[in-house]
Amino acid sequence: MRYAMAIDTKKCVGCGDCVVACQTENNVPIGYCRDWVVENVAGTYPQLEVEIRSERCNHCENSPCVRCCPTGASHIVEGGVVLVEHNKCIGCGACIESCPYDARYSHPDGYVDKCTFCLHRVQKGQDPACVSVCPTNCMYFGDLDNPNSDVSKMLATRKYKVLAPEAGTNPQIYYLT
C-alpha cells in the first residue's frame, strides 16, 4: 500500500479551505498550519499564467526528516505515511531543517507537528479533511498500489509533476498540470 495525493492545479482557486479544514480537524493552533497555499505568477500583462497549489508534507518515500530524527519520533507507518510521535519528540528541530519543503512547524506545546494525511480519518475509510472539504474538488487521495483509486486514475490520465524532484526525496504529492 502506498498512500498519495494528486492535486489539480487547473481547478484549485487558492481559497484556503483546505487550510481551515485541517486546522479545525486536527486542532492546529491558530497561526500555525500543516498545509498552505502557494501562488506563482509568470509572464507579463496580458500574457500571463498563474499556478495555485495547496502544499503539505509530501510523505516522501526517501525522507530526510525521518533519517535525521535523533529519537525516532519521526517514523514511517502503513502506506508510507510519515508521522511524528509527539511524546517521543524532544523538539530539537533537526527534521525542520532537513525538510526541503518546509512542511514542519514547532508546535507551541514543544513538539514538531505536520500533516498526517489525516490517518485517523483514512483508517475509517474517509478522505483526509482537506480533500473532503475542497470546494473545487481538486484533490484526490488514495492508494497508488490500487489502480482503481482516485489518485491512481488521475495519474494514469493526466500530466503531473512533483515539487523539488532534485532533492531526491521521492515525494508523494503529485500536481496535475
Partner: protein, 748 residues
C-alpha cells in the same frame, strides 16, 4: 459640526461599578435561558452533531456542527444532501466557528449615555434596553407615524425583524443586496425574460459547455455551489471566457481571457451581439418562437462591429469574433453569467440587459447548460393577523421615479431620512440588523448625514462593527451556531428545505433575533403577531404543513422534495407565455421604452482616471465575506489585511516596492484612514488598481481587524446612480498614492 451622535468606540464602555452591579441582578432575571431554549437544551447533548445552515454569506450552505463530549464546538462540516454545498463548505463556512469563539463579540445590551461631545455606552439589562427601544419606537409612531421607522437588514435573521416592522406598520425594509449589489441584473432579466435570476443563481453551470464571465470572479467570490459547478465544467472540458481588466483566478483557469479596458463592457457585449446576428449564429427557432424585437435589435447593432468595439475596449476584433463563435457553437448550453455584484457605472441595468439579450440570442434561458427553472418548497406562514396598511413610504421622496423597482433602496432610505422641505415624510428611526452600513453603502458622508438626523437608532449585531458606534441602543445577537432560525427554503433544481438549530447555548448575554423580535413585539402591543410560545413550535407547525417535522429535520438537516412541475428546462419548443408586456422574451424592452429609458442598450463612455490616478477596482477574497469576517481568528489566519494590486509599470513610476505600505487618496481628496500594503503584480492593468473589500475597520474593539488594511468603501465617494433602478455605481472612483503618513505631515 455639532453632532447629535458621537462615534463611540465601544471599548470605551463608560459604566462604573454601579450600573454593572445593577445589571447583573436584572440579568439573572431577564436571561432565563429556559425561555429561549425550552427543555430541549439538555436533550441536545445527546446529539453528536447538530444541523445548521451557514450564515457567513448569503449562499446558506447546510452543514453539521460537531461537538465533543465536553460540549465544545469542534468543527462545521457540509451536509452531503445539500444542493448548495454538496457536503463541502467553503473556507468561511468551515471557519464559521471563529465567529462563535470570537472574544470581541458584543456581550451585553448597551445604551448610549451622556451629552453630545462626551458620550459613551453603558451596559444594560435586556429588559431595560428593550423597554427603551419600545418607548422610542412608540413615540415616533405617535408623533410621526409608524412609517417613519426603517429596517436595514441582512441575512436570515432579518426576516423576524422584518415581520415585526411590518406589524408595526412600516413598509421601509431594505437590504444592501439590491441597490449595492444584484439589483440591476434582476431588473434587467425581469425586463427581458419576465423573471429574475434569483439566489442561488439559476445558472446551469454543471452542464454548460461555455461559461462567459464578465468581471465576475468566481473562485475569489466564493459562491460555493457555483464554484463547485465551475470545477465540474472544467472537468467536462467546458470553455471558459473571462472578461476582466485583472487576471483573476477565474481568468487563469479560462481558455480565453479578454483583458478589457475598464468601464467598456457594454461595447464588447454589443459587438458580440453584432457578430452573432450578422453571422446568423443565433438560435433562430428559439428566437422566432419566443422573442420580440429582433428587427429593432438588428438595426440597433448594425454599426457596432468588432472593429468599433476594439477602439473602445482594446480587445482585438478577431478575438471578439472568435469568442462569439465559441459561444454560438456551445448554444444552447452556454451561460453569459449575469454576475452578482453588478452596481458599477450607473448604466448597469443596461449592461445587464445586453447580457440578457445575448443569452436570449444563444437560446440559453430555460435550456440545459444555460439557465434552469428553479423551484422552491412553499412554506406556509405561521398564522398571524394581516399587517396594517402603510400610508406613506420611502418612495414619496422620489415622485415618478423607480417605477420598475419592487424593493426598497437603501440609499433611498438615506435620502428619505435627510430632511427635505418638499418631502411629506422623512424617516426618524433606523433599526440596523446584521449589516455594517458604513462598509456596505457607498458615500459614507451621506450615510452619516442621515444618521445624524435620526431621532433613534438601534443596531442588532453579533460583533462591534463600525456602525454600532453610532447606535443609541446596541442589542447583541448570538451567532448562527447558537440559535434556531427560519427554515431555509431556496429555489433550486430540486426543491429543498434546511434546518438551523443551536449547537450550543448563546454565549455571554446574547440572544437570538426571534426572541428579540418577540420581546419587542410584546412591548409594542403586537403580541398577536407572535403567537408561538417557542420558536420550535413555529418551525414544527410549518414543517408539518410540508410533510416533515422538526424531529425529522433534526435528523436530516436537509430534505429534498419532488418538483411540483416537470419544467426544469422548459423552453425546448414548448409554448410559453413570459411575464412581460408582449408575453415574449423582450430583446426590445417595451417596459423600458414606456418608462422613457433606452429600450436597447447603448454604450456610453465613462470618465477616465485623471493624470496620476488609477481606477479603483475592488472585489472579494475567498476567505472573507464583506467586512463581517475581518475579525474571525480562523480566517484572519489566512488573510489578515488587504493589499493594493499595482502593475509593475506603475510601481516603477512611483518607486513602489512589494510589501511597502501606502495611503490611498481619491479624486475628492479623501485619504484612506489606514495604510495598505502594496502588491506589485502583473495580474492588474496599468490604468487601475485593485483591492479586496471589507478591511480597514475603525472600531478598536475588533482586536484583529482594527486598522488592518484600507477600506474601499471609504474611498467610494463618487456614486453613479442607475436612473432605472437606483443602483449605486461604485467603480468611477480614482485613487493615487501617498507615500508618507498624511497625519504626521499635517502635524508637522
Amino acid at each position: 459640526m455639532k453632532t447629535r451622535r458621537d462615534f463611540i468606540k465601544i471599548s470605551a464602555v463608560g459604566t462604573g461599578a454601579v450600573t454593572l452591579g445593577l445589571s447583573t441582578v436584572k440579568l439573572a432575571k431577564a436571561s432565563e435561558p429556559g425561555s429561549i431554549f425550552g427543555k430541549k437544551a439538555k436533550n441536545q447533548v445527546a446529539y453528536e452533531r447538530f444541523p445548521t445552515y451557514c450564515e457567513v454569506c448569503f449562499w446558506k450552505c447546510a452543514g453539521w456542527t460537531y461537538k465533543d463530549e465536553d460540549g465544545k464546538i469542534l468543527k462545521i462540516v457540509g451536509n452531503e444532501e445539500d444542493p448548495h454545498c454538496n457536503g463541502r463548505l467553503c473556507p468561511r463556512g468551515t471557519g464559521g466557528i471563529g465567529m462563535y469563539y470570537d472574544e470581541d463579540r458584543l456581550k451585553k445590551p448597551l445604551i448610549r449615555v451622556g451629552e453630545p461631545g462626551n458620550q459613551s455606552f453603558r451596559e444594560a439589562s435586556w429588559d431595560e434596553a428593550l423597554d427603551l427601544v419600545a418607548k422610542n419606537l412608540n413615540k415616533i409612531k405617535k408623533e410621526h407615524g409608524p412609517e417613519c421607522v426603517a429596517l436595514f437588514s441582512h441575512g436570515t435573521g432579518g426576516k423576524m425583524l422584518s415581520h415585526l416592522i411590518k406589524a408595526f406598520g412600516s413598509p421601509n425594509i431594505t437590504a444592501p443586496s439590491f441597490a449595492q449589489c444584484r439589483g440591476p441584473r434582476e431588473v434587467a432579466f425581469a425586463a427581458t425574460f419576465g423573471e429574475e435570476v434569483l439566489s442561488p443563481e439559476r445558472t446551469d453551470i454543471r452542464d454548460t459547455k461555455c461559461l462567459v464571465l464578465i468581471g465576475s470572479h468566481i473562485g475569489e467570490n466564493m459562491h460555493n455551489g457555483q464554484i463547485q459547478e465551475m470545477s465540474e465544467a472544467i472537468d467536462n472540458g467546458a470553455t471558459i471566457i473571462t472578461v476582466d481588466p485583472r487576471f483573476s483566478t477565474a481568468a487563469s483557469h479560462s481558455k480565453f481571457w479578454l483583458p478589457i479596458k475598464p468601464a467598456t463592457d457594454i461595447a464588447l457585449l454589443m459587438a458580440w451581439i453584432h457578430v452573432i446576428i450578422n453571422e446568423e449564429l443565433y438560435d433562430k427557432e428559439y428566437i422566432d418562437k419566443y422573442a420580440y424585437g429582433l428587427d429593432q435589435l438588428k438595426t440597433h447593432v448594425k454599426n457596432m462591429t468588432p472593429e468599433w468595439a476594439f477602439g473602445i475596449t482594446t480587445i482585438e476584433p478577431d478575438t471578439i469574433r472568435e469568442t462569439a463563435r465559441e459561444m454560438a457553437a456551445a448554444s444552447p448550453a452556454v451561460i453569459v453569467h449575469p454576475g452578482r455584484h453588478v452596481t458599477w457605472y450607473g448604466d448597469d441595468t443596461q449592461r445587464s440587459r445586453a447580457i440578457a439579450i445575448l443569452n436570449a440570442l444563444l437560446g440559453s434561458w430555460g435550456r440545459r447548460g444555460g439557465f434552469f427553472n428553479p423551484e422552491a418548497v412553499h412554506l406556509p406562514k405561521y398564522p398571524s393577523p394581516a399587517y396594517p396598511k402603510p400610508q406613506k413610504s420611502w418612495k414619496d421622496a422620489f415622485p415618478g421615479q423607480y417605477n420598475l423597482v419592487h424593493e426598497v433602496l437603501t440609499t433611498g432610505i438615506c435620502d428619505a431620512t435627510i430632511p427635505n422641505p418638499d418631502l411629506g415624510c422623512h424617516l426618524k428611526s433606523w433599526i440596523v440588523y446584521g449589516t455594517n452600513l458604513l462598509a456596505s453603502l457607498p458615500d459614507q458622508k451621506k450615510t452619516l448625514e442621515a444618521i445624524e438626523n435620526l431621532e433613534f437608532m438601534v443596531v442588532i449585531d453579533t460583533m462591534p462593527m463600525d456602525i454600532t458606534g453610532y447606535a443609541d441602543v446596541i442589542l447583541p445577537e448570538c451567532t448562527y451556531l447558537e440559535r434556531y432560525d427560519g427554515i431555509r427554503s431556496s429555489p433550486h433544481r430540486e426543491p429543498n428545505i434546511a434546518l438551523r438549530m443551536p449547537a450550543a447555548e448563546p454565549k455571554y448575554d446574547s440572544r437570538p433575533n426571534y426572541w428579540i423580535a418577540k420581546e419587542l413585539g410584546k412591548r409594542l402591543g403586537l403580541e398577536e403577531y407572535f403567537k408561538w410560545n417557542t420558536f420550535e413550535e413555529k418551525l414544527d407547525w410549518q414543517l408539518k404543513k410540508v410533510g416533515s417535522s422538526l424531529e425529522e429535520m433534526k435528523i436530516l438537516g436537509v430534505k429534498k422534495m419532488p418538483r411540483e412541475y416537470n419544467d426544469l428546462y422548459s423552453l425546448n419548443g414548448e409554448d410559453y407565455e413570459f411575464n412581460t408586456n408582449t408575453g415574449k422574451i423582450e430583446l426590445y424592452s417595451t417596459e423600458l421604452a414606456n418608462e422613457g429609458f433606452d429600450p436597447l442598450p447603448k454604450y456610453t463612455p465613462h470618465p477616465e482616471p485623471p493624470q496620476g490616478f488609477y481606477r479603483l477596482n475592488y472585489g472579494r477574497a475567498p476567505m472573507h465575506t464583506f467586512s463581517r469576517t475581518a475579525n474571525n481568528a480562523n480566517l484572519t489566519a489566512l488573510k489578515k489585511e488587504n493589499s493594493v494590486w499595482v502593475n509593475p509599470r506603475v510601481a516603477k513610476l512611483w518607486d513602489l516596492k512589494n510589501g511597502q505600505y501606502v495611503w490611498l487618496k481619491n479624486q475628492d481628496g479623501v485619504v484612506s484612514s489606514f495604510p495598505i500594503k502594496v502588491r506589485v503584480t502583473e495580474r492588474i492593468r496599468w490604468d487601475s488598481v485593485y483591492m479586496v473589500h471589507g478591511f480597514g475597520h475603525k472600531e478598536k474593539r475588533l482586536s484583529r481587524a482594527y486598522g488592518k488594511g484600507a477600506s474601499d468603501s471609504e474611498l467610494v465617494t463618487h456614486v453613479m446612480t442607475d436612473p432605472i433602478m437606483g443602483g449605486t455605481g461604485m467603480r468611477g472612483n480614482f485613487v493615487t498614492f501617498i507615500l508618507n503618513d498624511p497625519k504626521k505631515e499635517v502635524a508637522s
